[in-house]
């Protein structure tokens, strides 16, 4: 069973340093929680890649194709000849294409965000009751910086020691404070 140890820090540098030490001690990849994005996370924990751009591109392509086909197929099915002009007229249909490209791009970007950030979580069951596999400290939304690591029971003591040595102001086990 995985136990979560959370160290609470007063400044981002100490939290980053603790995260680096945890990773260096082969305890796994820690998770940082903070009130603002921390600069330099990728230098310590490695580069992050996201699939959001692929979602955006896919959405934009689907939207563009759908927009043009919507206008063109409608024009063919319900033909309305005007003065011998072509039934499928590109200039105005490009505007429909453009708008739906953006619309679908936006919608798919949001879907990509939810998928890659694994949101929503813990929501539908309990209106935010603590999910044991996703420790959370409310202070990390205000002015504290938390480092969380999931490890085996044998490694808990070692993780706590590393966090303490890095300057943790408090150590918590999931939601319960142990020291």
């Amino acid at each position: 069973m995985t136990h979560f140890v959370v160290g609470l820090f007063g400044d981002p540098e100490s939290a980053l340093s603790a995260a680096g030490s945890i990773q260096g001690a082969d305890l796994g990849t820690p998770e940082l929680m903070s009130p603002v994005p921390i600069e330099g996370v990728e230098e310590v924990l490695g580069e992050k890649k996201s699939v959001i751009k692929r979602f955006s591109l896919f959405g934009a392509i689907v939207g563009g194709v759908s927009g043009f086909l919507l206008a063109a197929i409608t024009a063919v099915l319900y033909a309305h000849p005007v003065g011998g002009r072509p039934i499928i007229t590109f200039p105005p249909y490009l505007i429909i294409t453009y708008e739906l490209t953006i619309l679908f791009g936006i919608v798919f970007t949001v879907i990509g965000f939810f998928v890659s950030a694994r949101l929503p979580n813990g929501l539908w069951t309990s209106f935010w009751k603590q999910d044991e596999n996703r420790p959370y400290v409310p202070e990390a939304a205000v002015d504290k910086f938390a480092v969380s690591i999931g490890c085996e029971v044998d490694d808990v003591q070692r993780a706590e020691t590393i966090l303490r040595e890095a300057g943790a102001e408090a150590i918590r086990d999931g939601t319960e404070e142990v020291s």
């Binding site: 996370v41 619309l103 970007t109 999910d131 205000v142 002015d143």
Partner: protein, 451 residues
């Protein structure tokens, strides 16, 4: 950007913003009740009256078949422009002064779009047929005309409302989570739902940054397209003074101009009545003033070009429409517009003026009065002077139209007042980014654990 020598701490902004949501004084309720009452009396009752007695209750009739409803539609669409657009541009260019004000500016966009959409429903007379504008299979085999700018409008505004809603919501998720932890009861349930279980992990911040940036990139051209398309509603009609190629940039510049002035008004209100004086500072008014100056010069230039091309065309219809606008029945409105939108904003050349809150408020209101007048003149003077003299006529708004015009302001105010009690009106996490990050306290001075 960090290290802007902001003396405030993370907890200050946190406490101030949470207090702005959960602590409500009696003045707020008075303001909300007044706005709501005005919305009902000035907007909904006259609208229902018009629905009952027919569109004849409005002053629109041949040749002035477009009136204040459409002018209001253009005005509110325009006002919506600077919020999300400015926010996106400043986000991409990494301008830190955006951070204290963008949330409310984006809300302004959203509610302006809602009011604009309402104006379309008021204008069409029979809003229960509004679904006819949406392409869907039906038994009448009646599909919208995809070559019409009116359908472009439906597509563009739907996309813009969706984009603006998503943009303000995504940017608010971390703040919803922060407020969630400080509230109880129904508020806690609401913010738990809205925050989607956000914990502020490094992965979540990374994903939010990219998603937010992609959205900004998508929304900037969208915003430009929306008001270009609104301009084509008029420019594609073969009416003197409307059938002009300059209309798209004219409308876009006017929209950003009016929206920026709207932001100044909203910032003043937030600063004065929501106690955000420490976050919305002279710097914001200074920068917005510079922007207003540039936009006013651009707007003046386009107006000058419009007058010159009308004069230089040599076409009698065009020249008559121009003469009528400058010296005809509506001329006082034209020169009021020039005074408010081209002359007064020149005061923004002086830093002392830009950093004075009350004068900036009056200027921003004057600009938007001028910009509403501009939209009114576009629809009223053009249709009053078409090619054939026997089709000339005057348009004067009826009491119902004037009441609904006042009601739109009340409707917008009501929505905004509700917003400030639901959304954190200042972005907590982005303002924190402008502050100095907490520094490591030496062990001897730290005084033990947090517990």
């Amino acid at each position: 950007m960090q290290g802007d020598a902001n003396p405030l701490k993370y907890t200050d902004i946190h406490n101030d913003v949470v207090a702005s949501i959960v602590e409500t004084g009696s003045n707020y309720y008075v303001a909300l009740a007044t706005a709501l009452a005005l919305t009902l009396i000035c907007f909904f009752f006259p609208w229902f009256y018009q629905l009952y007695y027919g569109i004849g209750a409005a002053g629109m009739n041949h040749p002035g078949v477009w009136g204040t409803y459409l002018a209001s539609f253009i005005f509110w669409i325009g006002l919506s422009h600077s919020g999300t657009l400015l926010s996106c541009v400043l986000h991409i260019t990494n301008s830190s002064w955006r951070k204290a004000m963008y949330r409310s500016a984006e809300a302004m966009t959203l509610f302006s779009l809602v009011v604009a959409a309402m104006m379309v429903m008021v204008h069409v007379g029979r809003p229960w047929f509004i679904h006819w504008t949406i392409p869907y299979p039906n038994q009448m085999e009646m599909w919208p005309n995809f070559r019409s700018p009116l359908l472009f409008d439906v597509m563009a505004i739907t996309t813009y409302i969706t984009g603006s809603t998503v943009f303000i919501y995504m940017g608010s998720i971390p703040d919803f989570a922060a407020v969630r932890d400080r509230t109880r009861g129904w508020r806690n349930t609401m913010y738990s739902l809205l925050s989607l279980g956000w914990r502020g992990t490094d992965t979540e911040w990374h994903r939010l940054h990219w998603a937010y940036t992609f959205l900004a990139v998508l929304i900037i051209p969208l915003a430009v397209s929306v008001h270009s398309i609104v301009s084509w509603d008029f420019a594609m009609s073969i009416v003197p003074a409307l059938h002009q190629t300059i209309f798209a940039p004219y409308f876009v510049v006017g929209a950003i101009y009016s929206g920026t002035a709207g932001i100044v008004t909203v910032m003043f209100v937030l600063r004065k009545f929501m106690d955000f004086g420490e976050y919305i500072t002279e710097l914001h008014f200074d920068n917005l003033g510079k922007l207003l100056l540039v936009l006013s010069l651009l707007w003046s230039y386009i107006n000058l070009v419009e007058v010159f091309t009308g004069f230089y065309s040599g076409a009698s219809g065009e020249i008559e429409a121009l003469r009528y606008r400058l010296f005809g029945f509506y001329a006082p409105l034209y020169w009021e517009m020039i005074t408010f939108c081209a002359v007064l904003p020149l005061l923004c050349a002086f830093k002392r003026f830009r950093t004075s809150f009350v004068p900036m408020l009056f200027l921003s209101i004057a600009i938007n009065i001028g910009m509403y007048t501009e939209r009114f003149l576009i629809v009223a003077t053009s249709l009053s002077r078409q090619y054939l003299p026997d089709a000339w006529g005057l348009y004067v708004p009826s009491a119902v139209e004037i009441s609904i015009l006042v009601g739109t302001l009340a409707l917008f105010t009501t929505l905004f007042l509700l917003f400030v009690k639901i959304f954190p009106s200042v972005s907590m996490y982005e303002v924190k980014e402008t502050m100095d990050t907490p520094k490591k306290i030496p062990a001897a001075a730290s005084g033990g654990s947090l517990a």
